[in-house]
Symmetry: C2
Subunit: 147 residues, 2 copies
């Protein structure tokens, strides 16, 4: 948010091979500030119209994903969600409240061991390259509300 932050973000986009346009900066900033997954409807609500066209939003998300600036998080079948990849702690998972959508970050699993074990038990596969692990439950507020 501060000037130094904006500048480094601009540089980060350039380093990833992009032009630092206002729309991209706004989207990147939005995702960074979220510190967790955001659904496309939420992003659209905050950036369209004015900053971004809807088609551009989707195009940009796709390029961000290819550049490994964001990762898609499968927490809702109805629409895609993405989260900014903070290089300090890459691998982790989520616990999602099935009523209000509240998300809590879960510490990383033992990725290496897990994928290796899976590959060992899958005779028709040559490699395991990624996995998704998401938990669903009820948060305290929603539990209280339904009681």
């Amino acid at each position: 948010m501060a000037k130094t932050r904006t500048l480094s973000l601009k540089e980060e986009l350039r380093a990833a091979g992009f032009r630092a346009t206002p729309g991209r900066l706004a989207l990147a900033q939005l995702l960074m500030d979220a510190h967790g997954p955001l659904g496309t409807p939420t992003m659209a609500e905050k950036l369209v119209p004015g900053i971004f066209d809807l088609a551009t939003l989707y195009r940009t998300l796709k390029s961000f994903e290819e550049a490994k600036l964001v990762r898609m998080v499968p927490i809702d079948q109805r629409f895609a969600s993405y989260e900014w990849i903070e290089d300090e702690h890459g691998h982790h998972h989520h616990l999602v409240c099935q009523f209000c959508g509240l998300i809590e970050e879960i510490p990383p699993c033992d990725l290496e061991t897990l994928e290796k074990k899976v590959l060992a038990g899958a005779p028709r596969f040559a490699s395991v390259t990624s996995h998704s692990l998401e938990f669903f439950g009820t948060c305290l507020k929603c539990r209280k509300r339904s009681k």
Copy 2:
């Protein structure tokens, strides 16, 4: 497929509170024979038109899910996939080829321990009710083809 099978399937649907209509029988049979997740486009291709209308397909899948006859499997963000719940071995996961969609079933994880551990580390949550764990990789055929 044999008569005994069809009869018991009909009874299974009735036991779940449904009328055993031709469409439902066909969908249930299709899912059972698949022994794994099927995407809605695939189901539509095999059942629509004639046996089933598209709207009815989606409605039926939703009721099957509520009745716990099938479970939704999040392996493709673009459309929903479902698999028949074979009560012999309920809990398990999948390894999906990201090129051809081949699916291999993965032995169950330690669900109880896993969800308990997650809940313990999530102060804002009251309960963990489910989780999804899917692996993605490259199958031997696709590896060979791209080489």
